[in-house]
């Protein structure tokens, strides 16, 4: 049977990662030349099968990218006038275009929010994974997949109507439950209606961290956030290497999943700063325009998709969880490990690869997305330009200013930023073995 099977199989441990034809050990009996020829033929067939995909990839993925790189060096209006200007577009982006960098304000908030918003998906996946009945697990999996067939635009419109100030479900719910009055009270209390509320003052200080006017030691609040982030990473690296040297390597999990949770909590606190520092007075009438008021846009965007159980995310985490072998659970049960400990000792540490993948997807989506904001708020980013993100700014450069070359350069800058973040994730978000 094995001698006739030309299928592929993964080599056992020792040759991990190498792919070779099954039954290749039997070829030892054959002349060396024949083996090489056969292998050559096989590889030729494989290459041939890959060729259409490679050609498609080259034409539809890499060629447009090449175009973007090329045109980033041109003064190009999207028509046939192209003028080579070297790195001038990049120079402009870094020196004479403050708005581009200001558009990262919202992206930083959204990226931070992603760290918080990915937890519901993780917990949902764990719940699914723990369902004992295979039939029910299957049904829930299907239920999670069903929303994927709904076009994105429909989801967008549904959410938009949800936020509608007059006929939206959100305001109806808030009014029916009395939560609107709570929001109105919070509006004054949180923001310090008289300017002296202590929460308002604290909030003002936190908010100042990401506001333009806030500086400590001459360094902008946004850069302080970056510095704090870098310090956290360094701390993570140091604690990781420290734990590795200890007798009990299992203790290292604290530096992975627990660190992620700590970062999430800190982020949640920082996200608090999107709450306005002055009373809005929009809740009094019971019909706040969530997407029409400049102070409510960011909170609405953050709330968008609540309870943030993303279909793709859940399925990815679930795949990771299903890779955990049963003997790990059995060993844990023998040790008397409870469900909470299982979560932190086994499941979370072992799905860090999936967390990384999701983080990469979320980061790419957050930094490059503009369609959502364009459809929702228009090309100016809505009232006060609060919904301006780099992708939308790039869109404006191309389609409003007719500076396609410059837009390509902005795209390249975004690409480099994304690549750096992805490398960072690859290096530091990984499974603690």
């Amino acid at each position: 049977m094995s001698s006739t099977n030309t299928g592929l199989t993964r080599a056992p441990a020792g040759g991990a990662g190498k792919i070779r034809p099954e039954g290749s050990t039997g070829l030892a009996k054959r002349p060396r030349g024949a083996s090489t020829l056969e292998r050559g033929k096989l590889y030729l067939v494989l290459m041939g099968l890959m060729l259409p995909s490679l050609i498609g990839l080259a034409i539809f993925t890499y060629y447009p990218q090449y175009g973007a790189i090329k045109y980033s060096l041109y003064n190009w209006d999207g028509g046939s006038t192209e003028e080579f200007i070297g790195f001038k577009n990049f120079k402009d982006a870094f020196t004479v275009d403050p708005l581009f960098w200001q558009s990262f304000y919202l992206v930083l908030i959204l990226l931070a929010a992603n760290i918080v918003k990915m937890w519901p998906s993780i917990f949902a996946a764990i719940c699914l994974h723990r369902i004992r009945s295979e039939r029910w697990q299957y049904i829930y999996r299907v239920l999670f997949v069903v929303p994927m067939i709904i076009p994105g635009i429909v989801g967008l419109l549904v959410w938009k109507s949800f936020f509608d100030s007059n006929a939206g479900a959100l305001n109806a719910f808030l009014n029916a439950t009395g939560l609107m009055s709570v929001l109105d009270w919070l509006d004054g209390f949180m923001a310090g209606r008289d300017g002296d509320g202590w929460i308002g003052l604290v909030n003002t200080r936190i908010a100042g961290v990401v506001r333009d006017d806030f500086q400590i030691l001459g360094i902008h609040g946004l850069w302080w956030m970056v510095i704090i982030g870098v310090l956290l990473i360094v701390a993570r690296m140091v604690s990781g290497s420290f734990h590795k040297n200890r007798a009990n390597p299992a203790a290292g999990y604290l530096s992975g999943s627990a660190a992620l949770m700590i970062i999430s909590s800190v982020t949640l606190a920082l996200l608090f700063c999107v709450w306005p520092t002055r009373p809005l007075g929009v809740f009094e009438e019971g019909a706040p325009a969530w997407l029409g008021n400049q102070n409510l846009i960011i909170p609405s965007v953050l709330f968008w998709g609540f309870p943030w159980v993303g279909t793709v995310g859940v399925l990815i985490y679930l795949a990771g969880l299903q890779n955990i072998t049963q003997d790990v659970y059995e060993a844990a049960e023998l040790d008397g490990v409870g469900p909470i400990r299982k979560l932190f000792s086994i499941e979370l540490p072992l799905i860090m690869t999936q967390v990384r993948i999701n983080l990469i997807f979320l980061t790419i989506g957050t930094i490059t997305d503009y369609g959502f904001f364009l459809l929702l708020l228009g090309n100016e980013g809505g009232p006060g330009g609060k919904g301006m993100v780099p992708g939308l700014y790039m869109y404006r450069a191309a389609f409003i200013e007719q500076r396609f070359g410059y837009a390509c350069a902005l795209g390249m800058v975004l690409f480099v930023i994304l690549l750096s973040i992805t490398i960072f994730y690859q290096k530091y978000v990984k499974v603690d073995k």
Binding site: Y74, N75, S80, T81, E82, E83, F84, G86, K88
Partner: protein, 308 residues
């Protein structure tokens, strides 16, 4: 017998191929020419070289091919010093091979344009050099219609100097145009020249009298952008009414706006202006605006600034 048939078949195929090649010359040329009509310069650069290579230097076909290649190099995107340099060299070749041909005249004009426009980063604009090329055309092709176009271009290189405060060169440019029109009463570009001179008199010289005089000449000859001359009519009317106090001339242009360019957006205001000037209001062929609605306010409009 079978062998003979095969030989005949092969021979006839060969003949057909050779024949087709001979007959292909025209289709090739037609295809190459089509690329010019399609503004497809990359295809021009692909198709014309073989035509040029197969033609005798200096022949009509060679001139066409070389000129078209030069034009393609001149306009293929993205331009750089190499593409523009190649174009320049090919234009010079055309001029060298047939200095009195129409191809040479147009090559000289295009060389002027290369000097006049910025084609790529760091390309310098050299208006004097451009003017020399145009003057060459005026001199060498004095009796050809292209001389008028060269004069217009040369005058533009002077006007473009915008040499404030005395605007000596601008005035020279305008004078050159007027002198040319005076000496060439049948100049086909006279209307364009008058309009350009009028524009230059208007700005930067602020010489409204001469500007209106030039526009009046254009009006006699016919406007270049027929159907879209509304803004110029409005300018003439405003210059005449506001600056030069010539109500009859102003009324003439207001009337023209109503009759000839009612879709310029100024027909209603022209009716009001004619009323203001106590002039007859013509019927408009396009809009029934003979009974305009008066502004809602009966008071005089105001834009007065408020005190801070």
């Amino acid at each position: 017998m079978r062998g003979i048939q095969s030989i005949i078949a092969v021979a006839s195929i060969l003949c057909a191929i050779v024949g087709a090649r001979a007959a292909d010359v025209d289709p090739d040329l037609a295809e190459a020419r089509q690329t010019i009509a399609d503004l497809d310069w990359k295809q021009t650069l692909r198709l014309y070289p073989s035509i040029r290579d197969s033609a005798k230097p200096g022949s009509e076909q060679w001139l066409e091919a070389t000129y078209c290649l030069a034009v393609a190099w001149h306009h293929v995107q993205p331009p750089d010093s190499t593409t523009i340099g190649t174009a320049r060299q090919m234009y010079e070749e055309v001029i060298q091979q047939a200095p009195t041909s129409r191809w040479a005249a147009r090559s000289m004009m295009n060389l002027g344009r290369i000097e006049e426009l910025r084609d790529y980063l760091d390309d310098k604009i050299d208006l004097d050099a451009a003017r020399k090329h145009y003057d060459r055309v005026v001199e060498a092709f004095a009796n050809d219609p292209i001389a008028g176009e060269a004069t217009l271009r040369a005058a533009a290189t002077l006007v473009m100097a915008y040499d404030a405060p005395d605007y000596v060169k601008v005035k020279q440019g305008i004078a050159r145009l007027e002198a040319w029109i005076a000496s060439h009463p049948n100049e086909p570009l006279a209307s364009v020249m008058w309009q350009y001179a009028g524009d230059a008199d208007f700005r930067p010289l602020d010489d409204y009298k001469n500007a209106l005089r030039c526009y009046e000449e254009v009006d006699k000859l016919g406007w270049v952008d027929k159907g879209n001359q509304g803004p110029w009519y409005w300018r003439c009317a405003q210059l005449a009414e506001r600056e030069l106090k010539l109500p009859d001339v102003a009324a003439k242009y207001y009337t023209k706006i109503i009759v000839e360019t009612p879709n310029s957006g100024k027909a209603y205001e022209s009716i009001q202006a004619l009323k203001r000037l106590n002039k007859p209001i013509p019927a408009s062929p396009m809009f029934d605006i003979s009974t305009p609605v008066e502004p809602s306010s009966t008071q005089a409009p105001s834009t007065q600034r408020s005190n801070p």
